[in-house]
């Protein structure tokens, strides 16, 4: 086997903690024990560097991390800049699938033909300990004639003839259903009915045929899904059903080929090699390691400072003025489910400042599922980087890939129609990254770290109502009403105010109900 495939980062893939050099003796060089105990996060970093340095020719570093401002260099006369990050930065088209493998998620890889989407997915399968030939064989090729039976298996013909009830019919399940990594190629070429069967597998973790059920996740293990498609804009032989599209935790674009690496490509063609056939054995994860890896990721804490900014970010998007009459119904979802157009409703709100109102840039709000995914991937990013807690940079790095296809741009917003900003109408990832950056700037400008009266009222309520004197409860009702009046004094209403008003109404209800109960008790 050519040596070039076998080089795994032996030195720590993080630049170290700066504690000097540990003294060694000649005997120490012959002890393999230290090598064997590679922590799982270090092992995942080794995998990442093996893939980008050996397997997939991907010199793109678009997930950037920097302490302070990175060096930026303007290029050309059309506003292009390249930035040189100060910290280790990563290729999204490799790292996002790898994080999906680590958390047991679902990743949609998009891009034109021949850009390595399937290769990346197959590498994930091999990392889970399946042989490369089995992974390749288990790839489900989307095509217009793909039936549910093709996908899941068929009932045994003998049982079909002899069975007296559905329960007597055994199913010859397809082997791929039990693999820890499942790959569906060109999923937008699969007929709608078969997509629905796929949805059950992806969403619920089981498959059903003739009243028989089979779980798709390995026992107690982690399963991850990789889908590929040539586009993300509704193209393909069949439209992807919304519920299935919404199950994609992350969406990432395959990168193009860099001509400076042409020699390596020639070498591979001449040698007839495929990277998935050369994954070093020490880089694969068994089921126990995958479970442990996911548990470690879930345990990464999210500090309050990061939570507050995330909370602020997600508050922008649900509200739309004139979306309904009752205050609670002034949401984009109310407009959409009634067949209305959110863009038109936003345009009709002549009083809003579209520059300030970040919610006006989207035509929908964020689902709870999307938020759960964002939390999980931000933790995975922090864990992968080897930091103790999620940092704002971790959230910023994964957010565009999680929200792509979920937080949809409002094409009628001036942002997508003015000057250089027009680029954002096709570059969803940059738009989402910028949306988060804008939100963080607003958070700072509003001084939310120091002044968040609604958060203070909610904290007060979290102390519980047990034993609360009626007088104190009445005082809090007054405080809630005062806060509502304070919001009312500001002429314009934004998404963040909507969430605050709803939360204040909730507090008002809880306290007034408590006061009434106290009065009834005498």
């Amino acid at each position: 086997m050519p040596d070039r495939w076998n080089r795994v980062s032996a030195s720590p893939t993080n630049p170290g903690s700066g504690h000097g050099v540990e003294a060694l003796t000649a005997e120490d060089l012959f002890r393999p024990a230290a090598r064997a105990a590679v922590p799982l996060d270090e092992k995942l970093r080794q995998v990442y560097y093996w893939i980008v340095n050996r397997a997939v020719i991907s010199p793109y570093y678009d997930m950037e991390f920097s302490h302070g401002e990175p060096l930026s260099i303007g290029l050309g006369d059309a506003g292009a800049t390249v930035s040189l990050p100060t910290q280790a930065s990563f290729s999204s088209n490799v790292l996002v699938p790898l994080l999906t493998f680590a958390v047991g998620g679902r990743c949609l890889l998009i891009g034109g033909p021949g850009r390595g989407k399937t290769t990346v997915a197959v590498l994930m399968g091999v990392l889970a300990g399946t042989s490369s030939s089995d992974v390749r064989r288990a790839v489900q090729q989307g095509q217009p004639q793909l039936t549910i039976s093709d996908l899941v298996g068929i009932p045994l013909p003998r049982d079909l003839v002899g069975a007296e009830s559905l329960a007597d019919i055994r199913i010859a399940w397809r082997d791929w259903l039990g693999l820890p990594v499942k790959i569906i190629d060109e999923y937008n070429r699969i007929p709608t009915k078969t997509q629905s069967a796929l949805l059950t597998m992806v969403a619920e973790g089981y498959v059903e045929s003739h009243d028989q059920m089979r779980r798709t996740a390995p026992d107690g293990g982690v399963e991850s899904w990789f889908f590929t498609a040539n586009d993300d804009a509704g193209g393909g032989t069949f439209p992807v059903i919304h519920a299935l599209r919404d199950r994609m935790d992350v969406t990432v674009q395959a990168a193009g080929f860099n001509s400076r690496f042409f020699d390596e490509l020639i070498t591979r063609v001449e040698a007839g090699e495929k990277p998935e056939e050369h994954v070093p054995a020490e880089l694969s994860f068994d089921a126990a390691q995958q479970s442990e890896m996911r548990a470690q990721i879930r345990a990464v804490p999210i500090p309050d400072a990061v939570r507050e900014r995330l909370r602020f970010f997600l508050s922008h998007f649900e509200f739309v003025q004139h979306g309904g009459r009752r205050f609670e119904y002034r949401t984009k979802d109310v407009v959409t489910t009634a067949g209305g157009r959110v863009g038109e409703v936003i345009e009709a709100n002549s009083g809003a400042d579209l520059e300030v109102d970040l919610g006006a840039q989207t035509r929908n709000g964020l689902s709870v599922r999307a938020l759960q995914t964002l939390i999980m991937y931000a933790k995975a990013m922090a864990w992968f980087r080897g930091v103790d807690a999620v940092e704002l940079d971790d959230v910023a790095a994964v957010l565009p890939f999680v929200l792509r296809g979920k937080l949809l741009p409002n094409a009628t917003h001036p942002r997508f129609d003015v000057g250089a900003e027009r680029e954002l109408s096709t570059d969803t990832v940059s738009w989402l990254a910028d949306l988060f950056a804008q939100s963080c700037r607003q958070y700072d400008a509003l001084g939310r770290d120091a002044d968040d009266e609604v958060a203070a009222l909610l904290r007060e309520f979290d102390g519980g109502l047990d034993g609360l004197p009626a007088l104190e409860a009445s005082r809090r009702v007054t405080a809630v009403e005062a806060q509502l009046r304070r919001i009312a004094t500001v002429g314009k209403l934004y998404g963040r105010d909507f969430d605050d008003v709803i939360a204040l109404k909730y507090l008002h209800q809880r306290y007034t109900a408590y006061v009434r109960w106290q009065e009834m008790r005498g």
Binding site: S11, S17, G18, G20, A26, L29, G68, T86
Partner: protein, 224 residues
Amino acid sequence: MNRIPVQLANVSAPFPPAELPDLSAVGLDTALAAESVQAAHGDPLLFSRALAAGIEHDPASVTDRERALDLVAIAAWRAGALGLRVDALTRLESLDSAEQRLAAAAALGVGVDVLDEFRRRQRSDRFWWPGRADQRGYVLATGGFRGLGGAWIRPPERVEPLRDDGAFAFLVAGVWWRLDSDVWGARLSLLPEPPTTAEQRDDGVTVVIGPDTHLAWVHVREQG
């Protein structure tokens, strides 16, 4: 002009190409040792060649475990694994035979006639080797532009000595880095917080930085 990090002692190819020696007769897995050298930030190729050069001058080391370990320690240190420095210097002090001295000098890539001077000077000057004067006192360059395979995206702004010998702290683009170094090796690592610096020592060692280079050069002024 150099644009990438370098140990000047390695510039003139100090060892001929050689396969990794086989020491299985004395129960030593040299392939494993080469991997360990790499993990200790040394160069496994240089380790192979240095070890082969040493063994060539002391064939008895192939069947004598302690003699083999002497050469392994010296070759690993010579390959840039800084952690082996103390062990290698200790072993250099206790060489018994002429063959061992010859082998040790060969593994270091220095003439046997300067071995004693090398041992003596290394006790107080970790950056000394016989060719240093020819390099006008320069020993190594560290850092380098990331775009060319180095570590830094901007030239270093400040350099401060640290308490440990051969250790310095660099402020680069708002981030502090630590350098551990000696004549054969250098290792950069990120510092999680600003370092506690030491007083300038009067040992002639300085680190040269400039606004137009991403490299930092370690230079030693010969003591009068």
